[in-house]
């Protein structure tokens, strides 16, 4: 059985919950209270992940940290379609990886502003916000031109990839860090599309979309 060390309000944990749900993988969750108890900094959890970061995934003997690494593992191991992480297609695989790294930058900026505003972390929230806006401008432009070429997803894949899942949570939660998405209409349309992927589940602060046409 797969075990996810999970915190309900974490966008990085939410990525994993999303993909587990979309791939229909049975798992159990082990709740780690990030705030206010800071259980992720306690001895018991540090034994599992010396970095003291969530999420952590255990699958048999394998213990894996880092949300992007976990997404790569789950898609490679359990996705029979081969679409979520297209191992057979080096060029597409590289664009997926490129956007996985971009997702990390979103976590550091938009996610950082949310940590500062909502969880009282000593981060420079204004710097986080302006970096997030810089990234959102890049992503919105990319998605606008993708739409013109009838591409629905961040990487050049015909169906959603783990890059969409990796980028989604901290974009969707950006308003909790004081970052409005009003100037990013192509991002807003893309978030509707992600919400309509079969198996989508919400989290606190992320609402579901209605059915599409």
């Amino acid at each position: 059985m797969i075990t996810l060390y999970d915190y309900e309000l974490s966008g990085n944990c939410y990525k994993i919950r999303l993909l587990l749900s979309m791939l229909g993988i049975r798992h159990e969750k082990h709740a780690i209270e990030f705030y206010p108890a800071a259980e992720h900094r306690k001895e018991a959890f540090l034994a599992i992940n010396p970095l003291g970061e969530l999420p952590v995934l255990q699958d048999g003997e394998l213990t894996l940290r880092d949300s992007q690494a976990i997404l790569v593992y789950l898609a490679s191991e359990y996705d029979t379609s081969g679409n979520w992480y297209p191992l057979q297609d080096p060029r597409t695989l590289a664009t997926v990886t490129q956007w996985l790294c971009f997702a990390n930058a979103i976590t550091a900026s938009a996610g950082g502003a949310r940590l500062a505003d909502g969880f009282f972390h000593p981060l420079d929230a204004d710097a986080c916000r302006s970096e997030a806006h810089r990234l959102f401008r890049v992503l919105d432009e990319h998605l606008w031109f993708q739409e013109r070429e009838r591409q629905d997803w961040v990487a050049t894949t015909a169906s959603p990839s783990i890059a969409d899942i990796a980028c989604f949570p901290y974009i969707m939660l950006s308003e909790e860090g004081g970052i409005s998405r009003i100037d990013y209409p192509a991002i807003r349309r893309w978030t509707d599309r992600v919400k309509r992927i079969p198996g989508f589940i919400p989290m606190p602060g992320v609402f579901p979309a209605g059915p599409g046409l």
Binding site: R137, E141, W144, F145, R148, E149, R181, I182, D183, P185, R188, R189, D192, F207, A209, G210, P211, G212, L213
Partner: protein
């Protein structure tokens, strides 16, 4: 400073038409005011104040279901076009008050853009000097700067030649017909080679005090006759240039103080929404003016009438209705008759009714069938709903008899659209009475017809249908009185809980007895009145200046309901259920009287 006051009366672009994809809510802003902008499935573009009337949550995070916009917080539903609330999940048995209607703003589509504004007057910017055969919107670029800050850098970005020898961009001449419009015309078409060049119109959208969106359109490029790659390159080129202009301007303005924000004034509700409709002497007032837009035969005896507002001005917009609602229509012969609306969800630009020509017509159906012509003007009441549809039942059973299908049709359409489970039973004397068959067959709910049954067969079928009562399922019944009575009796015998059985009569089949005389005390008005034999309570109230709304005036529709504080009513209506009658805390003032000598009413 831009002239904010003048800008309120202008049309501004707030989105590209292509931004409004189906089932999406676009988050727009103009002059500091946020708008929830959404396209319904009938292609109508709605521009609404971006807040739910309930708890102020942004409607731009709501759900566009193609006909209505749902707030994410408590699920209030607002109708396409009117923005009137149609359903409040926390009050599933009640029709929302007509005053629950969001602020709407005008919206129109032109040049590939969506235009709106606070109270725009006059025309859109006219593009007289460019090729207007085709418009291709550029990607909108939002800049953290005012429109005046932006005006010159934007023009210079397009007109200044770079020293580099490879600057083979087209040369433009600029014209600014108003403070928000820039027309760039290609000055020299000779050097352009194979790349298509186009005149450009830029519209500066004043988003808020410190933000402006550049909405550009390429003029005269036929996209269908242009290679997709070429067009994409062109769009990318302009996007790059606009982003460069943006980045340069923002860096020069980086240390400038940010301007004071524009605070939009959000009107509470419009005055005609807030004030209660005036009551006429007759009580069933018909303040709306409607035009007969079409008349179609649905069967040898049933016609479909489509009524539209007299014009498309916002003040002529028809008030919002919900499934189960009816209107009182004043007919050419002076009669006032009630008809259920059959509109589906989001069909808010007209009222639709289906009317059977009754052999024993008292003048209503005859007038509609014989006298009414397309183009005729009529007066109607605002929609009233005393037969409201709950949307939270585990299963909804709609049982119609003959033309009693009409309110249930509107209900079936709403339940189908919401994906709620329902079954529709249509009892009819003959096949020709089955209406809307192909639509009902195509819908998600089960649709069963029972044709030509005798009264005893009807009773047997009804007993079968209602054999297993369930407190989480609801019955809606409408049809001729004998069939309705049979259905109600069967439901009672099968022990359906009374609150799950909803019914609407066409008319009151019972003979009324107005031979009693009694007194009424009006607790609020401090009046004591005598109701003599031969006169209704309603008419005595009216004669003494106490007006209340009424509609059918025969105890069938529930409009003239009055709360009873003391005394025992003599119920003569067919609207209240048996337990409501037994409780004795309300009565229908048009037909009901008193068993006690005196009634005290909450009037």
């Amino acid at each position: 400073m831009i002239d904010l006051e003048a800008a309120r009366y202008l049309w501004h672009p707030i989105a590209a038409s292509s931004d409004l994809v189906p089932r999406h809510v676009f988050h727009a802003q103009i002059l500091g005011r946020e708008l929830a902008l959404w396209r319904a499935d009938d292609d109508n573009v709605n521009a609404w104040e971006n807040r739910c009337l309930h708890r102020g949550v942004r409607l731009s995070i709501g759900i566009n279901d193609g006909t209505e916009l749902l707030c994410q917080y408590h699920g209030w539903r607002y109708a396409n076009r009117t923005a009137g609330c149609t359903y409040i999940p926390a009050h599933p048995a009640d029709a929302p008050a007509r005053t629950i209607c969001n602020n709407t703003y005008p919206a129109m589509e032109q040049y590939g853009l969506v235009w709106s504004g606070e109270s725009p007057e006059g025309p859109l910017p006219v593009l007289s000097t460019v090729d207007t055969s085709f418009f291709t919107p550029l990607r909108a670029v939002t800049v953290n700067a005012t429109s005046q800050d932006l005006l010159l850098p934007l023009i210079q970005g397009y007109t200044t030649r770079l020293p580099a020898s490879d600057d083979n961009r087209p040369r433009y001449g600029a014209d600014t017909p108003d403070a928000f419009t820039i027309i760039l015309r290609v000055a020299d078409r000779s050097q352009t080679g194979s790349t298509p060049v186009a005149d450009i119109a830029f519209f500066l959208q004043p988003v808020d005090a410190g933000r402006t969106t550049i909405r550009g359109i390429l003029c005269g490029i036929d996209e269908h006759n242009t290679d997709a790659q070429t067009l994409n390159d062109l769009l990318r080129f302009h996007n790059r240039l606009l982003c460069t202009i943006r980045d340069r301007l923002e860096s020069t303005l980086a240390d400038a103080p940010s301007p004071a924000p524009w605070i939009p004034i959000i009107a509470a509700v419009s005055e005609n929404q807030a004030s209660l409709p005036a009551m006429s002497d007759t009580g069933n007032s018909t303040p709306l003016r409607i035009r007969v837009a079409s008349i179609d035969s649905l069967s040898p005896t049933v016609r479909h009438f489509r009524f539209e507002p007299l014009d498309d001005l916002p003040e002529s917009q028809l008030p919002t209705a919900q499934p189960g609602a009816h209107i009182d229509v004043q007919l050419p012969n002076g009669l006032v008759r009630q008809y259920s609306l059959i509109n589906g969800p989001g069909e808010t630009d007209h009222y639709a009714i289906a009317v059977k020509r009754e052999a024993a017509s008292r003048g209503g159906s005859q007038a509609l069938h014989e006298q009414l012509r397309v183009g005729d003007l009529l007066a109607s009441s605002v929609p009233r709903n005393n037969f409201t549809l709950r949307r939270d039942a585990e299963h909804t059973h709609l049982i119609a008899g003959g033309i009693g299908l009409t309110p249930l049709l509107a209900m079936a359409r709403a339940l189908h659209h919401m994906g709620r489970p329902y079954t529709l039973h249509h009892f009819a004397a003959q096949d020709t009475e089955l209406l809307f068959q192909s639509e009902l067959q195509a819908m998600s709910g089960e649709y069963l017809c029972h044709v030509g049954l005798t009264p005893s067969q009807t009773a047997a079928t009804m007993a079968e249908l209602l054999a297993t009562p369930d407190a989480h399922q609801h019955l809606y019944l409408c049809g001729p009185a004998p069939m309705l009575q049979c259905a109600r009796d069967t439901a009672a015998a099968c022990q359906w809980p009374e609150h799950t059985v909803h019914f609407e009569y066409f008319s009151n089949p019972e003979a009324r007895d107005d031979s009693s005389a009694f007194e009424v005390d009006l607790a609020r008005s401090g009046l004591s009145l005598n109701v003599p034999a031969g006169q209704s309570l309603l008419s005595v109230l009216r004669e003494n200046g106490v007006t209340l709304p009424s509609s059918c005036e025969q105890g069938a529709c529930g409009t003239c309901r009055v709360t009873v504080l003391d005394g025992t009513p003599d119920h003569q209506d067919v609207y209240l259920s048996e337990s409501e009658k037994a409780r004795g805390d309300c009565l229908m003032s048009c037909v009901s009287r008193a068993r006690s000598q005196k009634l005290t009413l909450d009037l």
